[in-house]
Amino acid sequence: MKRTFHFLLVICALMVTAHVAHAFYDPTVGRFLSMDPIDNNKGESPYTYVGGDPVNKIDPDGRQEFFIMAEEPFVLRPVLETARPIETVRPVEAPQPVETPKPVDAPKPVDDPIQAHHSDPKFMGGDPDQPLTDMSRSSHQDLHNTMNKFLEQYTDEAGNNMRPTSNNSGQDIKTNFPRAERLDALKDFYNGPGAQWPNAAQDFFTQHPELLPTVVPPGYYILKKKPCLN
């Protein structure tokens, strides 16, 4: 009887504390009940949670703190569109697929991994450190095929054009067209056939807001301030 009572007492104690892998945490006092196993050497109490800064940090297992990264304060959003289309959404944690027996001769799943697109291509002089647009490989290929075809119409007096080919390298394009003309061609692309990849267009105009049209017709993009989180 005494042993059963002792067991129930332990269970109750566990119910009022939260177990965080390597330490017991009491949410009512906001402190760990046991010392941090890793000495942080920062002069902080070994019983605090993330140094008393739970807004900006997390500590999933009690062993190491991580900063929560903030997003850029300004973003471009398509007019009348509240969320980025699925083309660029990269799941943070993909759900584990339910294992089902595979039928015989089942069709092979399409291998279409996510790739990063330079909305201002490097062969046109784009910044190598520009923010990248996530899209599927097939979508990425379609975009570049469409873009290359589109760029063929931009020619100079000598008959050169902006389409990259086996006989027209990126270096050739950059020596025959100034950066302003290359950017104008890309602006036309993303306002024309390139608009079917709205995230790439959005990322291009985020980099070059000076190329946005001053009068915004439907379907174009405008700058919009993201609401402050604090």
Binding site: D156, E157, A158, N160, G170, Q171, D172, T175, F177, R179
Partner: protein, 192 residues
């Protein structure tokens, strides 16, 4: 007198030798002009990164996005055995099977005939931000004898990615074609 057009006349006297993009940058942060942010041509070679590896490695002749011509060991060996005059190869420190090609013998490019555009002059460093209009190339004269690799006296392109055109004579061009150097791109050059 009718105005000259850019359209070429006659047979080419040589060819430019360039390469496709190899998705690599060589320049590192360096001392730049306070007025325009350009690196002077003299300091450009000293601003090559020591820890860069070429990303697209199958090409014998390729170009970095910042205007350097990169060649393979195969191309270097061929040039050194056939046309060694005025050519130097600087190995990449962290990728020693690739070399930065530099050519010292100059040919005067006829920018008026080609209608080359010189844009945004910087009074501080006396450079143009952009020099646009390179192909088809026109040269004022060819040296005698004209054999092997030369470069233009003008660098073309934008910002810190400007580069000289490498010009080769017709015989060298035919031999290059026979060697099938991967990535090499040729364009005809005419006399004014």
């Amino acid at each position: 007198m009718p105005e000259l057009t850019i359209a070429p006349r006659g047979e080419p006297i040589g060819y430019t030798l360039g390469g496709h993009d190899n998705d690599t940058y060589l320049l590192v942060k360096s001392e730049v002009c306070e007025g325009c942010g350009l690196i002077s041509p003299e300091k450009r070679r000293d601003a090559i990164s020591s820890d860069v590896r070429v990303k697209k490695r199958r090409m014998d002749v390729s170009a970095t996005y910042d205007g350097f011509t990169i060649v393979s060991t195969k191309f270097k060996g061929w040039v050194e055995s056939h046309y060694p005059d005025g050519v130097a190869f600087q190995p990449l420190l962290s990728d020693p099977t690739f070399y930065v090609l530099s050519v010292s013998r100059e040919i005067a490019f006829d920018s008026a005939r080609r209608k080359t555009r010189f844009l945004n002059f910087c009074p501080v460093c006396k450079q143009y931000e952009e020099v646009i209009g390179a192909t088809p190339g026109y040269v004022k004269a060819t040296p005698e004898p004209f054999s092997g690799l030369y470069r233009t006296d003008i660098a073309f392109g934008s910002g810190n990615s400007k580069h000289y055109l490498v010009i080769i004579d017709p015989k060298c061009y035919l031999e290059c074609k026979q060697e099938h150097f991967a990535g090499a791109v040729f364009h005809p050059v005419y006399k004014s």
